[in-house]
Symmetry: C2
């Protein structure tokens, strides 16, 4: 279901696009919150067309099919966002590791956290570079709000990992 909604969202902001286009858009944006490959996207688009949420607007070279969102599709997206209250389908290997931390020796746990903090630091720099590149835009475009949220979350993970590592190291001093 979420994939369907994500694709409707992409079609809304990008205008008519092919499965190929949508796959690339997906990779550079929504991929940070939800994952799907072209092998899942193409069949889903066919099902969505069969369900009347999108239509093949144009057939181009190389078998290219350009899809456009229908009124029914736009309605589906809007309903999902507004009527279906705040669901929290959420899965994170990072948080799973936090649960498993006590299964390691303190020095191992601290080392793991330091490595994680470093990795979040790299990620944070990447995200901030993206924001800097987009700051010339005035309009808050697609991904603007999500990028802000992603930066906050990454910074939080980095801080948490660093502070928790320090805490563990502090309580182990001999």
């Amino acid at each position: 279901m979420s994939l369907r909604i994500a694709l409707l969202g992409l079609l809304t902001v990008s205008g008519p696009a092919s499965g190929y286009d949508l796959t690339k858009l997906f990779e550079s944006s929504i991929n940070n919150a939800w994952q799907a490959r072209h092998s899942q996207i193409y069949p889903e688009l066919n099902k969505m067309a069969a369900d009347g949420l999108i239509t093949v607007e144009e057939e181009g070279p190389r078998g290219r099919k350009t899809y456009a969102i229908t009124d029914e599709g736009a309605h589906e997206l809007r309903t999902w966002l507004i009527e279906k209250g705040p669901t929290r389908s959420y899965r994170s290997e990072g948080v799973l590791r936090a649960f498993l931390l006590p299964t390691l020796e303190p020095h191992e746990a601290a080392a793991l956290l330091r490595a994680e903090a470093a990795s979040y630091g790299v990620r944070l720099a990447e995200l901030e570079a993206i924001r800097a590149a987009k700051s010339s835009w005035k309009e808050p475009g697609f991904g603007h709000y999500a990028l802000d949220l992603g930066i906050r979350q990454t910074r939080l993970m980095q801080d948490w990992a660093e502070e928790t590592a320090a805490e563990i190291e502090g309580s182990t001093r001999s």
Copy 2:
């Protein structure tokens, strides 16, 4: 794979336990980072036993099977945590909604964010109650680090939703 690791972690901290026990432990802890029902857990435990990661230590009434982690299982868990670098398998409907925000009218987006903020507020209170109830413990037990992380993340989501709603409302004032 993650489910397997999660179950090995639970067995490590809880000691020998049945599928039923593990399902309940899972629900009250790791469920916040990863989801699985008993219908997935029972078959997985059987596969893990076949692979030598756990053993049936004891058979009790009502067909109860008590599993214990083996040395091989403990090794598998440790290796996964330490050698497999910081992976970020991550999926969040909350962040997906952030991406889709620009597909709504500003007043609708702001209302959605206010509703989300309220929902995160409720969640935050629940998590803080859990922390308060556990504060009498001195040892940082299972879930201690993950709970701290969860509280930070929930607060972040609440703040982000509130601030973003205010920002949208501010830029729409006539």
